[in-house]
Amino acid sequence: MKILVVEDEKGLAESITDYLTKEGFICEVANTFWQADEKISLYRYDCTIVDLTLPDGEGFDIIQTLKKIAATTGIIIISARNTLEDKIRGLEIGSDDYMTKPFHLSELNARVKSLIRRRHFGGNNDMIWKEIRVQLAARKVFIHDREALISRKEYDLLLYFLSNIDVALTKESIAEHLWGDHMDSSDSLDMVYSHIKNLRRKIVERGGKDYIQSIYGIGYKFTAP
């Protein structure tokens, strides 16, 4: 899977590519509008991550060009601009997702994976990890082929973990993933705790192993023990 990261801030571009490379993607970086323009006309990518504000051009123009020459490429906008107009415009011209800076790399990773799943399998495939199988279309979870009845939020949480295996996730990134950023109270961290507790219990009840590992002071990690 090839990903193009169009971002003028070199440090941020590097962070994104490092993170995604670890997740098994092949990443390329374009720091300027013209580099990006050249790359999209020469190569095909499965997904493009585009910053809207570039020193020599607008990210919107790259998206428009990209839509013309490679309509199947998934597009995720990352921008510091969080106005509704920008978001609507982004979606109108054909981008698939819009993330406001600052974002969590784990969240970006989850969205890239979800986008690629949708693009390549139409969302009809299963996600399998050890004894856990997630039927994406039906939003159902099976442990050792027995269905585990989990709530909507627990499903989202599990999917987030499965997209970020072996990665330390902060409590805040989990809370934001589940409830968006309008929830700014410390209550949401308690809720993360209780959802994780329930999810862990439900997996173990069905005979699954406890893969959720707490990291002191930071958050959680989904990993094989």
């Binding site: 941020l12 994104i16 510091a80 790399l105 589940l178 949401s188 002071g217 930071i218």
Partner: protein, 419 residues
């Protein structure tokens, strides 16, 4: 008061005063001239009379004729020898009326005895003349005044028309949009100068507004990017396997501070945008309907804190406002009601045609309730709270002329928004 009304009134008042003064003066002048004429004729007759007396030294009074009547009465005792003009009324013999006369009285010796002599002249004709002249004059003057008044009103109306056109254009001018202010030219130099100045000011305003807007947006962008970098680096850093407890603590602090700063920046940017009235899209929003929808976003946390939510919706509280701001307004209010609530607490949402009220249970407020809506005034010491939520709510209410009030009783906190 409108300019035309004001000028009309001043003009009317000034005209009336002038009219009265001129009318009265005119009347007196005519009267004076006529009296002067009558009196000089009477003096001539007095001379005639005296000449006659000197020649004949006798006077047979013939008082039959009313006109030019001369009366002579002998005077006994003391008298003051002087010539006096007086007005007098004499009964008309044929008509049941009294007629005005002007008479001159003087003393003279006839046959050695002093006589008081009065010579009269009828003023009927003179009075008629005065009346005729005055009436004509007053009518003409009045017509002139009324004519001038209407002419002046029409003229001013026409002259000021370009001014009023420009005024209505300026009133409708919205500097948050990109349309230029263009005013129609007129023949009048002063108006053209005014329009030039207004156009210049308008384009300066638009330009300043645009650069301010760009600046706030760029500033926010510039701040968010390094924050995104800090966040990303922290996230990468926590992936290391060999983090000590000390490191974790530091990392957590850095991470929290960066997140907090980013949220502060977003909050302040939002406030600036609301203040600058950058949310120009408007829709009729039913807030009582929207809040029912909005509370679904908070379902999990309400469930988690076991809060009971009661609705008492009696009518739709509608307002023409930006959908994004309506969303932010209600989110912030609900967030506030949940955040400061305790486990097993309650939230009551009441709405009617003219108000929306959100009450929540919670601990007693220690600070000054007046300052609750100010920026960075927060009740809880929790670092998670920014102290911007209610300031944003207040700013949105101010923008749409909504009243906002806070009330507390028995550990229930109520925020009332009304038209």
């Amino acid at each position: 008061m409108k300019l035309l009304q004001k000028t009309s009134r001043i003009y009317l008042a000034a005209s009336l005063v002038t009219y009265l003064v001129v009318g009265i003066a005119f009347y007196w002048i005519i009267k004076f001239i006529i009296y002067d004429e009558v009196e000089s004729r009477l003096m001539v007759e007095k001379q005639d009379f005296e000449t006659y007396i000197r020649a004949n030294d006798m006077w047979s009074s013939n008082s039959y004729f009313v006109e030019n009547k001369i009366e002579a009465h002998p005077v006994f005792g003391k008298f003051k020898n002087e010539v006096v003009f007086t007005d007098t009324l004499i009964r008309n013999r044929y008509e049941e009326s009294v007629d005005p006369f002007r008479q001159v009285s003087f003393y003279t010796l006839i046959g050695g005895t002093p006589y008081r002599v009065s010579i009269r002249k009828s003023m009927i004709e003179s009075y008629k003349l005065i009346e005729a002249i005055s009436a004509t004059m007053i009518t003409c003057l009045a017509l002139l005044m009324v004519g001038m008044f209407f002419f002046q009103r029409r003229l001013s109306g026409q002259l000021w028309q370009p001014f009023y056109d420009s005024l209505s254009k300026i009133k409708n001018f919205d500097w948050t949009r990109n349309e230029k202010l263009s005013l129609t030219r007129s023949e009048i130099t002063e108006f053209n100068e005014l329009e030039d100045v207004m156009e210049k000011m308008a384009s300066k305003m638009q330009h300043d507004y645009k650069s301010l807007r760009e600046f706030t947006e760029n500033a926010s962008h510039e701040i968010q990017t390094p924050l995104a970098l800090i966040n990303a680096r922290v996230e990468q850093f926590i992936q290391s396997k060999d983090l000590g407890e000390n490191h974790t603590y530091w990392i957590e602090e850095i991470y929290h501070a960066a997140r907090r700063m980013s949220r502060l920046n977003q909050g302040l940017l939002l406030l600036a945008k609301i203040e600058n009235q950058q949310f120009t899209d408007q829709e009729e929003i039913d807030l009582s309907e929207l809040i029912k929808d909005k509370i679904k976003d908070f379902e999990d946390i309400i469930h988690h804190k076991n809060i009971r939510v009661d609705f008492k919706i009696e009518g739709s509280f509608g307002r023409l406002m930006s959908p994004s701001l309506a969303d932010i307004l209600l989110s912030n209010l609900l967030n506030n009601a949940i955040k400061h609530n305790h486990t097993d607490g309650t939230i009551t949402i009441e709405a009617g045609e003219h108000y929306l009220e959100i009450s929540n249970s919670g601990s007693v407020l220690k600070g000054n309730p007046e300052r609750l809506f100010e920026r960075f005034k927060k009740e809880s010491t929790g670092t998670e709270s920014l102290g911007l939520g209610l300031a944003i709510v207040k700013q949105i209410c101010d923008n749409y002329n909504l009243q906002i009030a806070y009330n507390t009783s028995d550990s229930m906190h109520t925020i009332l928004i009304s038209k």
